[in-house]
Subunit: 131 residues, 2 copies
């Protein structure tokens, strides 16, 4: 199977597959006589694993850790769980930050008439309304 088909089958773009190989996240693919990368079902499964982990927000570095655990038959499930819990915590932190922004913005929006006059408490606040 060529890289295009592997991309289709895994949901990872050909571009990213090459990138993952380049950065060592996955081992170099086999090559056909003419230099084309070749993939089998096993490789596609790895790619899907990566895709899924990325979809859950794991950064590539953590994906590498997950892959290592996956390959390690003598892993402790506690290690996997730790990674997942850390990711949950990271998401929670980021979400909290953004919710704080949202709250502030929502307040500001409520104070703004939103008509064709120039007066706007939003701008006043941004420019340091409360010194």
């Amino acid at each position: 199977m060529n890289i295009g088909e592997a991309a289709q089958a895994s949901g990872v773009s050909a571009k990213m597959i090459r990138y993952y190989e380049e950065t060592g996240l996955i081992p170099p693919a086999g090559r056909s006589g003419s230099g084309y990368r070749t993939y089998g079902p096993k490789e596609v499964q790895v790619l899907r694993f990566i895709r899924r982990a990325r979809d859950l927000g794991f950064p590539m570095e953590k994906v590498a850790d997950l892959l290592a655990l996956w390959r390690d038959r003598s892993r402790a499930s506690a290690d996997v769980k730790r990674l997942a819990e850390a990711q949950i915590a990271a998401l929670e932190a980021r979400i909290a930050e953004m919710q704080a922004m949202q709250v502030t913005l929502t307040h500001l929006v409520h104070t703004c008439a939103g008509d064709d006059r120039p007066d706007c408490p939003i701008l006043v606040d941004l420019s340091g309304g409360r010194p």
Copy 2:
């Protein structure tokens, strides 16, 4: 006032002040005889405006729009409000994505024993548990 003081006063790093100037977000600062950038209270206020808008999650491009409206005495407050509402919506979208990840991960974590045995439903799921 030199760039370091302006950075202190505005909460924007000297590095970023130069960058904002380079990208045209702010006009070129005045220069002292020896080439040092110089800033007055007005410039610092602009920097604080930028800082605050960035803190609310506005991307630089939108900050530029906000700055333009701020400078435009004949703006309509509706335009400002629109930008703020769009930002709220953008935050909401991103938050929703991340919450979905969080929910999935939380489910997975609950299914994992987290002991020293290797069996781990998290890995099973990542590797395509549901075909």
